[in-house]
Every structure is written in structure tokens, then in C-alpha cells.
Amino acid sequence: MKDGEPHDGKVEEVEIHPTPMLDQLEDGPWPSFVTGLKRLRDSKGEKYAPMMNDLMGQLNHSYENRKGYWKGGVVSVYGYGGGIIPRYSEVADKFPASKEFHTLRVMPPPGFHYTTTILRKMCDLWEEHGSGLIAFHGQSGDIMFQGVSTEKTQGAFDALNKIGFDLGGAGPALRTAMSCVGAARCEQSCFDEARAHRGIINNLLDEMHRPSLPYKFKFKFSGCGNDCVNAIHRADFAVIGTWRDDMKVNQEEVKKHVAKVGRKYMIDTVISMCPTRALSLNDDDTLDVDNKSCVRCMHCINVMTKALSPGDDRGASILIGGKRSLKVGDMMGIMIKPFIKLDTDEDYEALEEFAEECVEFFADNALEHERVGETIDRIGLPSFLEAVGVEADPNMVNHPRTSSYVRTDDFDEEAAKWFERKATEAGMTVAGE
């Protein structure tokens, strides 16, 4: 008998659980996941049909009692310690076929691109091994293959792995990363998000597959300040595209825009909304940009996509320490590297090295169940900067400290370092030109 085949070669006839609560979620114009669950449940002859019948029964039971009935556990595949989210039912006596309903977290390609061919392969293998239910994508960015028994988990992973996919992160480990569509289709992209994404994660895979960090560590990559993958809020290490030369202005297109929308609307929606008052409208309806005051927020570029675009000297900012509520409350990343150039192989290698250094710092210094943002708060930003070899920069703060409770007897030495660094930078700029 082949693995996974029913014992008598037939699928047992089962009684369909009534699902009056879920049935209410089939009306209305939005696509219904309940209708999808029913398609799986009613797939005559498919091995997963009884599992989905019991899954729907349990979900309806949750709706009736307003209570969840899954508990965790430990399930993994050979050689890996993470990537599977185990789920065991607490009401398996009532719903035995879905008593084990684990999820495989699978890393997506950067930018979430797929061919229909690869999606069909995923569907086929998930019908063979799992429930037929797949989520594109979880909040962590993973493709979530939801619903597999412990026994079939290894086979499901092997099948996915053979078509070129790998498990993502779970537990105290490097987690699956996300990147925006970026350079693939967006003119506002300031670096090759996918390259940075693959470079960093694939360099640190061991930390994902064999969890041994104090807690989770997430990377996210957005090509500009619009931050379409929510990196500053959600990532321990956010890479956000930016540029350091002047933004590009096509004045003829600016004039066309003003002619189209009117001067008042242009002033209300572009000029007045610039957060640093860096824009003004000239008398001839061209745009005056104070690039030294521009903070690369993206607003005017979002409004006038044809007239304005990021500059040519592109790269990224790195913000560190974003996370959700547990346990000290939500935190956003802090600006740690205002600008890194991302152009050459060496630039991307330097980013990978810095990422590795930050993960190593986290592994060595964070307390158990502490995110790196909390570690930074605990030890103070200066200590973190010293540990990862970054100098203090005014872009790291909204304003300098307001408390006098600090020991400043080495202030002159620190100031000397600052002037030395400024002189070096100025020298490099001159040399570069």
C-alpha cells in the first residue's frame, strides 16, 4: 500500500456536519472562503474531503461557542527545527478527521510573483498530501499550506521542496521576509528589493531552519518611503529605499498637471502637504524644490507620477527595532543607517554583512523572548550603535535629548570624532567628484 492511500482504497462516506453559522458567510459580493471550504468538503473521492468536513464542523462549533479549539505542539521535518505550525484539535472526539491540522509555512518568491504552472503544481501536491486549502499569504509573508496530518507533513514538504520551495520561519528564529513589487514594476523603487531580500535571508538560512535565537527576527524590504510591506512597523530590520541627490522634476509635466487640476488644487494637495515646506509653485506653474529640506516622504511623487521621480543616486535607509504588541507595546523601527548605496555587488554584500552583524548582536545580547527593539531600549541606543559599528547621526532622532541626566566628560573626544568624520566625508566627496 502506498503512503497516504485509504486502507480499503475507498473513501468512507461521512455525514456532513451542519454549519448554520458558516452558511451565513456565503452571501454577499466578496469571495467566500466558506464556499471554498465546502468545495473541498464535497470533493467526492478526495482524501481530504472528510478532513474538511470535520474542519468545518469545528469552525462552526467555534462560532457557536465563541472559542478557539486548536492547541500547539511540536512537528517538524527531517533536518529542520521550524517552519511547521502544529495544530491539534481539542475537540477531536467530535471532529476526528481534522484532529491534526498543521500548517506548512513556505517562503514566497520576493514580490509574490508566480506562474500559473507553479501554482497548479502547488495545488496538485496539496491535494495529494494536505487539505486543499492554501492562504496567499500570511501576515508574515508565508504561503500557508493549511491542514496536514503529522504523518503526511514530511511528504508534503518533500513535494514542495522538489519544486523549488523551502520552509519559512517559526518560533525563536529568523522569519520569512517580504518585499514589495519594487523594481519589477514600480518606477519609485530605489533598489533591487528582491536581491537584498534573497541575499540576506539565504545567507542566514540556518537561523531560520534551526531556531536558536532569543526570539523572532524579521526582515522586510520596501523600495521607497511608501513602505508597501509595512516594514517600519513590522520588521526588526526594515530596508526602505531612498535617494540622496535631487529628486527629478519634469517641469513640462508639472505645468500639464497644474493645467489639468487647477492651481488651487495643486497647492492644496501638493505644495501645502509637503511635510517640510520644501515645495513652492512658481509663477509660471513650474515647481520650485528645496531638495536640502526634502525628507523623501514620497507624497508629491505619489501625486504627480509623471512629473516627479526619485533622484538617480539611490539606495536605502535601515531602521531597526519594529515589532507588534508583546510585551512592552508596539514599536517602530529606529533609523540606524540613513543611507546606504545599493548599486554594486559590493554594496549588496555590505548590506548582507551588516544584517548578519545585527542578527549576531541579537543572538548574543537579547534576553529570552526579547525583540531587538526592546534590547535597544534596555541597553540604550549608543550601546547598540557601538556594538554594530555605527556612528551616531542626527537622522536617528526627532530631536536631541531633552534630559540633562547624562555624563558628558568625554564630550570633546566625541565631538572631535564627529568633525573628523565630517572632514573625511567631505574629502571623499571631493575625491569622488
Partner: protein, 360 residues
Amino acid sequence: MSTERVVPRTADEVGVPDHIQYMHPTLVKNHGAWDWHDRPRPGVLHHVAKSGDEVWTVRAGTQRQMDVYTIRTLCDIGDDYADGHIRFTTRSNIEFMVSDEAKVEPLIAELGEHGFPVGGTGASVSMISHTQGWLHCDIPGTDASGVVKGLMDMLHHEFVDEQMPNRLRITTSCCQINCGGQGDIAINVQYTKPPKINHDLVANVCERPAVVARCPVAAIRPAMVNGKPTLEVDEKKCICCGACYPPCPPMQINGDDSTKIAIWVGGKHSNARTKPTFHKLAVANLPNNAPHWPEVNAVVKRIVDAYKADAKHWERMGEWIDRIGWNRFFDMTELAFTKHHLDTWTGARKSMNMSAHIHF
């Protein structure tokens, strides 16, 4: 007993797959060389490359939690219209790229035929970013996909039109960990009672020092009950956050009456105009009446309608409230401002108005 050992296959640790092999050929050809874009109609993006190549993207809503039949239907549409390539957005919308403008309208019609709403671009309500809920989470206070379906049914017209002042991003979370993230409107479980402890199970199930350490307000301490080592909660200190429940399931935080819903407003990820912000409490203690959450939906609708009617173009929810003041926000949405809106957590003082600026 067989002595034969089955050696499992050793994984090929491929990591993050190469995206280029899956990308639409027009995107591959013009990678990093796009010039500008516009939106010819809601749900459609039009990108023009420096090479002169053009690509039209048609965006449609999905249920995120998809059965293989739905995925294959989307694949059929992708094969017929989009050269066999698709992508997904951060908010689980599907996108079809076509390099021939003539395919756009038939593609939209085909998606409509199969019940996939086209929209979610520009100044619209996009798909709600949400969590797993009762379907698959081990600690949920409510469902995710179900209540999101109900909300998106209500907001369907705001997905397919672009009639909002700016993007309106909604999130839901089934516990206070807030995996759904920050949103213009965030609809999150809010626990209202301390955990109910099953003292018979704690010693066997929970690593007690780790649970004690997990509490944000140091309200948990070791105890003996009926001769068994367990944990107890100082209910005067407890803030009912549920942080102890994941590491210690016998400390049940959910109750059918005590698990409530709170609505938060003004969160924003983007750096456009204002810096990113966290969402702020609008209302708490709404009943968790899944599947349709009528009380929650009514409040969401009031907030959406007030924002739609009063915000200026390009103002996000939080920016609109910054301009009109919280006074008027609570008036316009007919919500109460209470002592619970005054933050008491670390850094709370920074949220207070330390100026003579007031709104009437």
C-alpha cells in the same frame, strides 16, 4: 519488528526562491527601468517603462484562504489573459499583468463573471489585512476570515470604487498581540477579564518562570493550590492583555462574554507626508458577535462615512483627525470619549496635549 529504517529525504535548503523565473516577461525585460504610472480606472494600474513598453495590471480581491478550485480558476484566467503570470499584493489581492491594453476589459469581465471584485487601487478600501482566527490559531478571541468577509461585503463598493480621500487600510486581529498590524481602522480583540486559571494543569503544561516573566505588569506569581504548584494572578494589577495565555493555555483569557472588540483609528505605515503612526483607541467593549459583527460593522461604517465625507484629498485617517481634532472625530462618529482613552502605559505623557491648542 522490522529493523529496516526509513531514512527521510534530506532537504534541499533552497531558501527564498528566485522570483525572475515566475515574473511576467514584460516585468523581467523592464526590471528597474520603469518611468511612470497612472490609474486609468479603479482596479487598473498602467505602468510605462523607459523602453516604451507598457503593462496594465488588473487587481482583484480574493478570500486569501483559498481552496485549490479557486486557485485553479484564477490560474485559468491568468492563462487566458495574462500569459500565465500572476502576483499577489501585501493585502492578498491578486494581480494580473497584461502587455496588451485590449485584454484589460475582457479580463475585468472574466474576473467579474467568477465573482472576484476588481479594485483595491488608489483611494479605495483595500482588502483587510487579517489573521487566522478560529480557523487555525491556537489563542484566538474571534475569527478572522469570517468577520473580514462580512466587513468586505459591507465595504465592497469602496473596494471597487476609488472615492475615498486617500487609501483606507483596515486590519483585524484576533488577540491583543495584534498580528493584523496597524491600520487606518484596526478592529482588534480586547480582553476585559483576567485569565481563568485551571490550577490542575498549570504545573504540567506551563514553564512557570517563563510565564511570570511574560507578564507586562508583574501580576503573575507562583502559588500552591490544593497542594499543587501553580500560578496566580493579582487581579488588581492585571491589565487583561492575554500575554500569559500563549505560553500557558490553562490561563484561559477568552470568555464568550469577556472577549470584546475594540476599534482603533489613525495607524499608517507609509512615510508620505507624515511619519508612520500607530492607531489610537476609538471605542472598546463592542460585542464579539461573529459571524457578522453587526455592532462592530455599524461603528466601522460610521467612521468610514465620516472620513469619506470630511477628509481632504490625500489626507489619511490619522491626518484628517489631526486637522479636525479628536473632539470633532468623536462628535462626527457619535462615539464616547472616556477615561480609557487616556493612555496610562509607558510613554503615555507624550500622548497628552501639553499646549494651549484646543479644538471646539
